[in-house]
Symmetry: D2
Subunit: 343 residues, 4 copies
């Protein structure tokens, strides 16, 4: 299978390259960037020296479709909604890592992203690509989930599907590594301001909130809102989510862990920690794993769910390849069996 | 005023030295350590070279009381409950930075600290030293609050005292810098395991939980429990607390900020951020400030309170000196007017 | 004594504020910025909330000279050479923290800074402000040294003055914290690129090279060149210099340390480490100290000199205040006796 | 090919597992630890959950030789010299990642490692495994080089072999990430002491000095000593080496880069940077690459060589696998074609 990558110079695009190099059945045949199509990829990414001989090309849909079988958009928000149309018109498979095709409700994109959404007919063609819960695995057009959203949805799926939660009680405290902010320079990502620091951002306004609610409602239709906050921690990669919710009935830690183990027993990339153990962020870095630890507090009747992913792995490029595998009929794990890099 | 410091070689003890050097009315006359009373302080702390000429001395209560007017215990849990008695018998002022005299309820210390508590009569002599809410400002014996506890209590005081909270809905997500774990070596504080990482610890079992509940109950007697979790982030200093709670009535962000500004208008070390602004961790490092930002979410009816302190400042040595100032009748700010170190 | 600060919003300007707050004999009466003179200082520096009531003002030399007795320029290169002239014409004292008045040789500034130098008559009015070796302590106009230059010159002074070095053999390997690059955004200071990374920069072209050579030649006129390289390490503050040079004669470590101790016995801010001990970067952070460790290698006949300073302290604001103290006849240590912040 | 790993729980052992998982022709059949043979590997390394089903076994040479075709020792110094003998007696292949079989000169090990060396006949059986310069590629017993030594030797090989250097002028300033200190707890690796800090260690006494000299003498017999220092920087992985040496004749940067490119044209893991470009540490992390940048300074007649490797990759596990590939006749790159992880 031959693929092209648009937006290869961003962190998610580079991570697609890193994983796909290991993929036994996929070849990257062209790479594209809308911002720097004159320079070579090596010139700005010395870690790729001697490793990627492909030239950086302009984005020409015709040429891309002639060469390859599928295209990844690893572009910032607002790009793929402009550029994906010719591919869809031509019935050509697209996996979009940006937020442009995730929100299905009219007006939601505009409210949360601050610009007009993709046309509704295009929006509806995209299947939301939470790999463990794909509704339409044959879909040719996949909206790959956001990093926070992936972690939040996997954290809550079993309890919501089993109707064990008070759906009005969910609080999600999210922390992200700085690579989540991408390559763009800003005060918030300036080393002297970020190192040895922690910052809350987008208070009650992060664009993953409607995405998470949209997915959770599929499992718990009465759920309307979640309390969700996002902070920046001084690490390069990773999402660390601490989720709190009241249970309808008491449960033991053993039952809780069993519930999750059973629920995810066919999900090779979700690893439930043993009773009394909680994942550390680094245990998933460089990989596609989502690791989850669980505790029930009988005093407060609340469960605490600790979830970690690599924002560029399961939160972006890793899950995109998992979705490619599902689409192409490969084993879900193809190209994704790298061990996390530790320490 | 002359003071002695027991436990000067720990991080809180060193921080007492740093602040007291600026104090116009206090002189440190002796320093003590139970672990290394042969070496000089400079030998293990090269940053103090040429700066502290006092020798490290053994802990002899008689000699200490002869020399000085007050003693600080900056020792780990379990030490002051053994060593403080002769001072109290002699009616000599003590400020204890450890947890040994904070929990007043029978059995609480043993449950949460895992060893037997100080004798009840001693416990009751100590005033809980949350500087902004001292019950007995003339108290000679002060149990300086824990770092998390300080931040949590200041975060919630105005809303609880004004009876605006659903007291069963409180969730506190706490993050601490690694210096909170002290100088002792452990896997969790080993650089290669901690750097670029984040870890939850003491799930539902942190010893500051009963301390916080004990204080919050004074303001809201029906409050019985809180959901409180603690994580380690890869910074040296700092407590970053994100607190969530449901409000009984809607409120605007402006009203919320006003409520806090009014409440703390005579508290020079609590700085309420303007509407829409949230403190970053570094803005208090090296200082005694507690900075608080606030947001109300009308969708979830929850308030989010973002609170930062330096765990060694307002969370330990800074507040201890603030308590000394209150006890001695000095201006609360004496010796504490250092600017935060930024960046 | 009343002072004004131009360029107060940069890291060195902020550090001047931090130190001067402790200074018993100096008051900051006005603060100025050429880039953001509409906003208040607090608005962009929340760590200063409630602490600095002065407004940010435009740079009006007349008004500044009416209000104050001395002006600091804490501006980037290229500003003070444009703005300092009216002060000098009016015989008004200036301490310039930038590189604009350091290089006395014709053409040197243009070669190394890439723009035209200040007029020669102005250049010659400025005394080079290496505080331990001031040529003209009464000078009204002081060119405060660069951070690397300060560390390099203090490292080599005793051996050069005693003619113990092979002056052609000097190699200085310099490492700097990221705050040295200032507040300006760049790829090199973007957290995701800088954290967990190390980079060499300005290979053989750092503008402190001619400054160091200019000063070393005063002590060793035959010295013409030095090998000097600069790297960025992932810390916020600090200069860590490892200097190597061949000695003309063997020496013992004891003699070496003695030579330095004697040389600096009246320099309160230079602390020579004992034989076999070498300073760590953090032991000077937040302070004006320059700590030096020494070792002689009989096999290679080379001395290794390990030197640490805070780039914003002894490398900028701290030394500037030390120079102000010298100029004003205060004790050199006034306002600078803060302990390093550790850990 | 089947292999066993002794010392699998250390950082180098874990990294062998990570690389070998990708190796098309090698299977890890048993894993061993002398320190924790009761627990499973997963229990102490949650990043390996579900990924390594092998049990941790005791070290029984007979059993190991029955099961596998080659054994790696990824143990600390002092272990393999005790445990390797039965394998050698049985003519069984061994790749030793420790320093125990590197130093061939009588007395050198004892001088630099502080304990008695392996028996001389064993020592002489081991080929020094600098992969790009193997003397005896068929050797069954391979002493894998040290991390600093690998970087230093590759840095200097072309210039020494071409006799372009003044061999008495070499100064190597080495910096290492903290994982180089292994898993053992110490003050120097305690987060609060190491983060935001830099430290020089083993001044003139690092055990890689004699190893480097031994190898460099093969290329330049008159070389007797090098000036070499080692520092700890606050990153997890990586060696960053800045090497200085005087050239006998002037050279242009172009000639210098050409010389290295030609010299290493058949060395896929050594990547010479273009003129004016210098490698950053992160561009090799997670990989087996050694990246080198070069500059000649006509003023000082010195070359500066900037060299980066991953201490656990090319500096340990990566090169060990490269040596296995050479021994087994595989393509040198097998299992090592992972892209560096960036950012």
């Amino acid at each position: 299978m031959k693929v092209s990558i648009i937006g290869v110079t961003g962190y998610s695009g580079l991570e697609l390259l890193r994983y796909l190099r290991q993929h036994p059945s996929v070849e990257v045949v062209s790479i594209h960037s809308h911002s720097m199509n004159k320079k070579s990829l090596e010139a700005v990414n010395p870690h790729l020296k001697h490793l990627i001989s492909l030239p950086l090309e302009e984005i020409n849909p015709e040429k891309i479709m002639n060469k390859s079988d599928l295209v990844f958009f690893a572009t910032p928000s607002g790009i793929s909604k402009e550029l994906a149309e010719p591919f869809i018109q031509a019935d050509f498979p697209v996996i979009d890592l940006s937020g442009d095709f995730r929100l299905k409700e009219l007006g939601a994109y505009e409210t949360w992203y601050g610009s007009s959404a993709a046309p509704l007919d295009l929006l509806q063609k995209f299947d939301y690509g939470l790999a463990e819960y794909r509704e339409n695995p044959q879909a040719k057009w996949i909206a790959n989930p956001g990093c926070y959203a992936t972690a939040a949805e996997l954290s809550l799926a079993p309890l919501l599907k089993e109707k064990k939660l008070d759906v009005d009680s969910i609080v999600i405290d999210g922390k992200s590594g700085v690579s989540g902010a991408g390559k763009g320079l800003s005060q918030t990502t300036h080393f002297s301001e970020t190192h040895d620091n922690m910052t809350v951002y987008k208070m009650n306004s992060h664009q993953h909130i409607p995405e998470i609610v949209q997915q959770l409602k599929k499992w718990a239709p009465t759920l309307e809102v979640i309390q969700f906050s996002t902070s920046l921690i001084p690490v390069t990669r990773g999402i660390f989510l601490t989720t709190y919710a009241k249970l309808n009935e008491p449960i033991s830690d053993e039952e809780l862990v069993d519930l999750y183990c059973t629920h995810f027993e066919n999900s090779p990339f979700v690893r439930i920690q043993a009773v009394g153990q909680y994942p550390v962020l680094k245990q998933v870095i460089g990989s596609n794993y989502c690791d989850i630890g669980l505790a029930y507090n009988p005093q407060t009747k609340m469960v605490t769910i600790v979830t970690v992913i690599d924002n560029l792995g399961k939160g972006a490029a890793g899950q995109a390849i998992q979705n490619l595998n599902i689409f192409a009929g490969f084993d879900e794990r193809c190209g994704l069996e790298l061990l996390p890099i530790y320490p």
